[in-house]
């Protein structure tokens, strides 16, 4: 829907400064767009293309490869239930069925009120804590069906303040201040660091 807001454009420019080449900032910038709108909007992709200096098609080409990016609005809370082997062995499929009944949607669908999207996902690296899920990429571990119900009810009633809306990942960003930066320069103009050359044994240094 929308281009990046002025505040987000400033963040995007900071991201650009972290990389020797602009296009490396593409995926973090797509996450920024998704954080802003809850999904990656066409206008945002055009804006990103302008900032990086590539075509909008290139931005979309990268965007569509990655599963986390959605090109249309989804629920405020995206519930990803892992059904890979470790979780399957301990009841993930039953949990998914229960979730489908509780929410009244099939995996891949969104509830009519726009609150929940349910997904059946691959391993989310909490295998010893099966069955598990992520809500907007925050973990819920070792879930009984009743735990799932409580989680959904709490999200509905607004009790869960710890879960941000879909699209927000880390709430802290890396900032490299100019006085602390060692020097991020394009590969074409970056040579051997002086500190390395001066530390080489004398014979190699000749």
């Amino acid at each position: 829907m929308s281009r990046l807001s002025p505040a987000n454009e400033a963040i995007a420019k900071e991201l650009l400064s972290h990389y020797p080449r602009a296009k490396s900032a593409l995926i973090p910038m797509l996450h920024l767009a998704q954080e802003q709108d809850g999904y990656v909007a066409n206008d945002a992709m055009e804006h990103i293309a302008e900032l990086i200096g590539v075509t909008p098609a290139e931005v979309m080409g990268t965007c569509t490869f990655y599963e986390m990016f959605v090109l249309h609005p989804v629920g405020k809370y995206k519930i990803d239930i892992c059904t890979n082997l470790s979780c399957q062995l301990l009841g993930a499929e039953e949990l998914l069925h229960h979730a489908e009944e509780k929410l009244g949607i099939r995996a891949g669908g969104t509830t009519d009120d726009g609150l929940f999207t349910l997904e059946d996902v691959e391993c989310i690296a909490a295998c010893t804590e099966a069955p598990c899920l992520q809500v907007n990429y925050r973990y819920e571990l070792r879930l009984e069906h009743s735990d799932f119900d409580k989680m959904v009810d709490d999200l509905r009633s607004g009790k869960r303040k710890d879960i941000p809306d879909h699209g927000t990942l880390a709430k802290v960003r890396q900032h490299i201040t100019a006085d602390r930066e060692a020097g991020i320069t394009p590969p074409e103009t970056t040579g051997t660091p002086a500190w390395f050359t001066s530390r080489l044994p004398a014979e190699e240094n000749a």
């Binding site: 020797p20 973090p28 990268t62 909490a126 490299i176």
Partner: protein, 480 residues
């Protein structure tokens, strides 16, 4: 309490999943602290001492120390880090990329290391950068791991401010930038050339090797080292204590410890730091300090020793010691340290289907044998599981597998039938090992449990069991 009822509650509170087994702690020493991710806790428990020790030596000595310690890569392939570093030609700029895209089914260790002790990882990165003369390091964290991204971002901000990172590290002339980068949900990006493509802002498809060996032509076509999170997390300890001390742990061929995630049907699943080559799978599954037995005291049916891509092991392989040089010749791999245990109640066809489905979903689509083959494997397994299998389906599955991985696929020995093990790794008709990995669950399951496949097919081969009777068979033939 959990859905499976048998979990005990003796986990380290602040690191869900991690179990302190009272063994040596090289990488998990801070996991017991609530504030293990902060700079204060890190500094009060020896954080950045390894970096200080390293900066007193010259870079070549450090690279030699890592080589002497035989620090094996902990990402999957198990290649010695010191030797990998040596492949870099004397060309600058050069880059370090940290592979934190942990997505192998069953693998759960890098996330803990990134969330619970980000400073240890940053310190490891800095030591590697110093040894190799690198200007810049990219810390690539899996997209789904929001907490890990947050903790690393905070840790980097603190480390920059306190002078451990960036310009003039610890008051010296050394300057190294460490940048947090994050992915967006693609398993294939764990493959190092795909990781590099992704870091360059492209679709994460692997590059052909040769010529694109990362050590020679990596990020921006410059020499690049890609190391796993756990590999680098070992460096601070190694710098403080030295290679000789490091080699006192573990076995001669595989020194040090490994983080192993034991999941599935065991009484105490968890992430354990274990000395390599000392403990056997039997100790791990039944030992009091480890998983404490199979769930509900059932019989073990099969287990995956090293992530979804590893051929399965069975009861015959329980006494193999946990180290790459033992597991490989026995027909599988230690891979990413992900051990998944299946007990006698497991439906083997369903388990194989679930793993194969993973590869079908995650295939990037670059190589035809993998793109087409993995989805056909999934379709054929799905119809067997749904009761619509055909008598020729077992041979068909093996045939599809041979198109992705020609020759005899690695497999464990099977005492009852006097079949020998075929050592790892498999051959491949694809650029990367994703496609061949999809063959592992099929080959393992069919070789050992062919009867279960035949039983499901047998029950469905009768025309009257088909929906709509005989006529629908013709319809199904046309469909497929």
């Amino acid at each position: 309490m959990s859905a499976n009822g048998s979990h005990t509650n003796d986990y380290v509170e602040y690191a869900p999943g991690y179990v302190d087994n009272e063994g040596p702690k090289i990488v998990t020493s801070r996991f017991g602290y609530e504030d293990s991710h902060t700079l204060e806790r890190s500094l009060s428990t020896g954080g950045y001492d390894g970096l200080k020790a390293a900066l007193k030596k010259n870079p070549a000595e450090i690279a030699q120390e890592v080589k002497d310690a035989v620090l094996l890569g902990r990402g999957g392939a198990g290649f010695p880090a010191g030797i990998k570093w040596g492949f870099m030609p004397p060309v600058w700029p050069r880059y370090l990329v940290v592979n934190g895209d942990e997505s192998e089914p069953g693998t759960y260790k890098d996330r803990l290391l990134m969330e619970r002790d980000p400073h240890q990882l940053i310190e490891g990165c800095l030591i590697a950068c110093y040894a190799l003369g690198l200007n810049q390091c990219f810390l690539y964290v899996r997209g789904e791991m929001a907490q890990a991204q947050e903790n690393i971002a905070q840790a980097l901000n603190d480390a920059y401010a306190a002078g451990y990172c960036g310009k003039n590290i610890l008051g010296t002339d050394v300057g190294i930038d460490v940048v947090l980068h994050w992915g967006a949900g693609a398993y294939i990006v764990g493959e190092e050339t795909a990781l590099i493509e992704s870091l360059e802002g492209n679709r994460g498809m692997p590059r052909l090797k040769p010529p694109f060996f990362p050590a020679a032509k990596g990020v921006y076509m410059k020499p690049t080292i890609v190391n796993n999170v756990e590999t680098l997390a070992n460096l601070p300890w190694l710098m403080v204590n030295g290679a000789d001390e490091y080699k006192k742990y573990g076995s001669e061929k595989s020194p040090g410890t490994r983080m192993l995630a034991i999941s599935g049907h065991v009484k105490r699943p968890g992430v354990y730091e274990v000395e390599q080559g000392v403990v056997s799978f039997r100790d791990l599954f039944y030992g009091e300090n480890y998983a404490q037995g199979i769930k509900d005291d059932n019989e073990l049916k099969a287990f995956v020793p090293g992530g979804g891509s590893a051929p399965w092991f069975f009861g015959d392989q329980l006494d193999i010691k946990i180290e790459a040089s033992e597991v490989g010749p026995a027909g599988s791999m230690l891979g990413s340290g992900a051990i998944m245990v299946m007990d006698e109640t497991t439906d083997i066809v369903k388990a194989a289907l679930r793993l194969v489905r993973f590869y079908a979903r995650e295939s990037c689509g670059k190589c035809t044998p993998c793109r087409e083959g993995t989805s056909w494997e999934e379709k054929v397994l799905q119809r067997i599981n749904d009761g619509l299998g055909r008598p020729e389906d077992i041979d068909l599955l093996i045939d599809i597998g041979k198109n992705i991985s020609p020759g005899t696929y690695p497999v464990a020995s099977f005492g009852d039938e006097e079949l020998d093990a075929v050592p790892f790794p498999p051959k491949q008709t694809t650029i990367c090992p994703l496609g061949p990995s999809s063959v592992a669950p099929i080959t393992s399951a069919i070789r050992r449990f062919r009867g279960e496949f035949e039983a499901k097919i047998g029950a469905s081969a009768l025309p009257e069991s088909r929906p709509g009777g005989e006529t629908s068979i013709d319809a199904l033939e046309v469909d497929a």
